[in-house]
Symmetry: D2
Amino acid sequence: MSSCFNGGINISLFGESHGKGIGVVIDNLPAGETIDLDKIGEFMARRAPKKDGTSTMRNEKDKPEILSGLFEGKTTGTPLAAVIFNEDQHSGDYGNISHIARPAHADYTGFLRYNGANDPRGGGHFSGRITAPLCFAGAVCGQILASRGITTGAHIRSLKGINDDCFDPVKVTAEQLENVKNRSFPTLLDSTEQQMRELILSARNNLDSVGGIVECAAVGFPAGIGSPMMDGLENIISRLVFSIPAVKGIEFGNGFDCANLFGSENNDEFALQNGKVVTKTNNHGGILGGISSGMPIIFRVAFKPTPSISRPQKSVDFKTMTEEELIIKGRHDPCIVPRAVPCIESALNIALLSALIENPVLPKSEV
Amino acid sequence: MSSCFNGGINISLFGESHGKGIGVVIDNLPAGETIDLDKIGEFMARRAPKKDGTSTMRNEKDKPEILSGLFEGKTTGTPLAAVIFNEDQHSGDYGNISHIARPAHADYTGFLRYNGANDPRGGGHFSGRITAPLCFAGAVCGQILASRGITTGAHIRSLKGINDDCFDPVKVTAEQLENVKNRSFPTLLDSTEQQMRELILSARNNLDSVGGIVECAAVGFPAGIGSPMMDGLENIISRLVFSIPAVKGIEFGNGFDCANLFGSENNDEFALQNGKVVTKTNNHGGILGGISSGMPIIFRVAFKPTPSISRPQKSVDFKTMTEEELIIKGRHDPCIVPRAVPCIESALNIALLSALIENPVLPKSEV
Amino acid sequence: MSSCFNGGINISLFGESHGKGIGVVIDNLPAGETIDLDKIGEFMARRAPKKDGTSTMRNEKDKPEILSGLFEGKTTGTPLAAVIFNEDQHSGDYGNISHIARPAHADYTGFLRYNGANDPRGGGHFSGRITAPLCFAGAVCGQILASRGITTGAHIRSLKGINDDCFDPVKVTAEQLENVKNRSFPTLLDSTEQQMRELILSARNNLDSVGGIVECAAVGFPAGIGSPMMDGLENIISRLVFSIPAVKGIEFGNGFDCANLFGSENNDEFALQNGKVVTKTNNHGGILGGISSGMPIIFRVAFKPTPSISRPQKSVDFKTMTEEELIIKGRHDPCIVPRAVPCIESALNIALLSALIENPVLPKSEV
Amino acid sequence: MSSCFNGGINISLFGESHGKGIGVVIDNLPAGETIDLDKIGEFMARRAPKKDGTSTMRNEKDKPEILSGLFEGKTTGTPLAAVIFNEDQHSGDYGNISHIARPAHADYTGFLRYNGANDPRGGGHFSGRITAPLCFAGAVCGQILASRGITTGAHIRSLKGINDDCFDPVKVTAEQLENVKNRSFPTLLDSTEQQMRELILSARNNLDSVGGIVECAAVGFPAGIGSPMMDGLENIISRLVFSIPAVKGIEFGNGFDCANLFGSENNDEFALQNGKVVTKTNNHGGILGGISSGMPIIFRVAFKPTPSISRPQKSVDFKTMTEEELIIKGRHDPCIVPRAVPCIESALNIALLSALIENPVLPKSEV
């Protein structure tokens, strides 16, 4: 099903960019969990467009209204539904391009898939706007994880050759993960923030856009959670991550670099530390055989440059089947990577909570 | 569920490395499809160990017995079950390491996950042997796809700095994909085959192992198949690919490289070719918004070096909780990448057939 | 997952009786289907409380707002979400009974299941109010079925010994099914309507309630749809029907009566009629081996009397663990069976559309 | 998916009546559970044909071979697979009827569903033989339940007007449920056994068959397990029960009789007994709002008479589309109800274990 995630929790996302509202239903959350709506607002604000030129000028308030599933500040255990009503709609901006496929967008594939009936305004259900309810769900799951001592966080690892520092795969701390969230731009270093901001503004001025890589980590996640094969943590995380538009790749631990190593270089030897099993290095990214090892979970995600650029592009009108030149109007992000950071965190939060809940637990045998 | 894939078709894998048998149940296959068992044997032989020193010396016959779902050479439409009985078992080889965690293996995480009850012999259900029934399923799905003009194929893209040629993302043909299958070593170039063989034998002699990257493609897949968000083709393919042990990353189209491009460089412009909508370049890898564009589907998968190496390694006995030195005996692949090539094809075959079947089709309205 | 149905279409229901809103997300609907919102209103009005004394006096407007999935009057193919905001809330009516279990209600079991965190007001998510969005989904599915010549309908088969006529299992027509929908009280006969109305009013005056049986049928459904074993039409229909509060049983065709027959009496012999395979009798209820036979689909559902009655009842305060006498205040249906009729139709509509979509369809082999 | 059950555990059934083997894969069982294979044999023997004339004369040994998932007598937590090889096959008996639809069988509907490609021998995948692996799964689940003090059992409630005693819905004990299993014919009373045996033999002699009703119960199941709406215990049990061929109806607690009661008669008042919440009566059958109440779970299932009778029957050859007379040869059960008793228990065992595992359990919040 296109917009349903099924696991220990179920998530059903809905909405179109210029429709009446977007939202999410989250089923099978544990009951009695305290949810802080202000903190959810702060989480979602990290995804919201900024006024600093690095993102779209659209004014997305994105305030979720809770319809069900919360009672006296706690989860009821029954479905938690939230809706964000679309307020700032400029359909007119998109009216004239509806049948000329925007390159790197889903206009043409969506038209085929839905026999031309899908909502074409602003990308419809394919729009990055649907990541707003994903972030709502991620923020909810993140609060439940946090109450068990599990912290997740992410930063921009690189933008077109500008590299931020890395999370130390062995020593990364909850404090470091939290610190990034308080920055106005999600890098670890001040210097890379400055360079990246300049790159984005420059791309904007050139009517262009730029891609990048997000690095994401979790600490405090218990060892022994997950499953081999189809429901390993990598499988669940990647399924959720690829639901975010513009993602082109994902790698865990040392990822693609492991292809250049010998086994004797890549294997993480086990050791004891304060009576606990650890690995001295963490090339495996905290997951072995689909199951958490107790080491930090770490992965990176590649984002393509925003497809919407204002330069003239060659394309095809797929209704008239003629070649046309296209100029995309409207307000667009010259780089979606900064706003994608909490989206990736959300995918991880949902995956980790889902895996925790899905692990089979039975009362002990009485015999 | 650890070993079930659910989609347009359902796949339930079972078995342990040294148990009685391994196998698979495939549900919801279309009825009446001709299955050529000899060709399945040929497909699976590509995964089987070779006698040329590049893989384990174990003698895995891996001949699947069909228990149900085939009648007079055609699929019945009801569950297709196949079992491969384990014949060549050397449990003794593994007896002495059962509680010392082999680095980069799932011994420790599996022990935690299953409270010590999982079958530890040869990795149990975590063993790469379970990819044999995955290849059976992949071979079945591949034959059904082939009868609709859809061809998939893969090759070793690189091993530790030795780079094979690439599939041309725009012009790759079914013939090229088929040609690799007929080679004794799955590269595009003779020269890289020679270099890679030498690298693997050298690693073997050094009691070491080596990782690599597999590139996989599909041609002939119709445009308009897939879904946005959770059930996009990338989501389905990656969920299946991460079920294969030792996979650390996946990227579609130009993948992580897109993070270094401007939108004006990365966007694939649309054009008409023989009255058909195509893109001039294929950075998107044949998938836009989770849906096939009609261009070749192309992705790459990173494999870590085989964790089992015969050098002494430091580790922990997780039962006695003491640090120990470990020497892994037994017969192991110095590089699993050549044998992984048909496994990746299998993941793609299952994903594509599942997506084809899952696309909602209703009889036309009568009104 | 408590409130998700997964099949050819996915349905995610949410809401609590006295919360902000109730609603539904429907995923995987076919694209381009015309939806008539006025007709949906008419369908849902059949479930709404009546002013004639046979139902609660609560004023439930139950007007669904479409948030997504409809564009220019047609389904987009992406998730269709609808919300009904709760307007007429009288929480005060329920305040004093929150920890004394109402007999035959889910107060006590819900408290255990959700560790006391579920919304207790008016039954919360266990309330019959959640059948309003179920009816919305059923009305949508029913319109899509209708456009393919498939008609469903239901009537009250019996109330405490008062028996309405039956649908003729062989000859029932679309017209007969439609006719019941136009009646203010869903019986086939005027005489039984009169008797049943009197029975309900009498139960109301006695501070009591009454149960009954609903009979439901579909005509025009094509033969050959469904599956053996777990996804047979009976399995799907019964899973959906038991999601409706107060259902205690379901039977297909001649149902429990078949237990009193010889095979020679029960078997429906096949015959040809106008070149079509039919059965002369329809004890099987239009389903054989989980698959539609082309004969009318017919089943009956038993509803218990409304648990909420205003008489004093003995019960337990499950917080203080003391025995208490309970008097339920508030406005309740003396008989929910008339309002349940469109709910049962909805379950059938969802099941039939889901099964139609789920049937695997592949483009024909080219070879 | 036709033959997959998904819940807290996944079950994938496969096989055809006259194929090479039938079997099951059970995924997500808890690890480390002791399984007694002899007791599984005893359980399955209750389903096997008897030599006393009440069932088919076929010699079904039905000895399951465990392929995976058991190690040193305990579940590994990874998929448990078992196969039963078909030995006693008389395909010739069925050869001449392959295209004349046997009344009340799935020959015609299966032919349509699978475009004529399904295995027609002995009903193929529609055969009652597939309940053998269902019973294997039920026996495994039953042993795990038993180790937690949960007991299930069933008996023949009635055969064509011959009524056995009932389980007392309030006082039924584990001992009573176990006692039925030790009887050679599953009734509570000796007298009804005698009458029923005579009825079955008489039907057999008349080349006829007879249906009946099975009553099933569970005691010791903890209160608070299950979910509202789609995943209530009734939904799960009924989904599994309707996977058993010949089932036509199911009712919980007092079932269809509740339609003849006033609320004041039907409501089960709560009381305290030894400090525990109980109900004085058990019309609700141990389930309220889809969730267990702690009272015995009780339900009844209607079975139609065996469709295969040796009398001449009128039917249609659906290949030639001509009306034909049909005489079914071969060996058939004159009444499948006695052999269905452990099948119904199996459905309940699977449902209850699945619900137990599915209930979300998280480590307590640390904050």
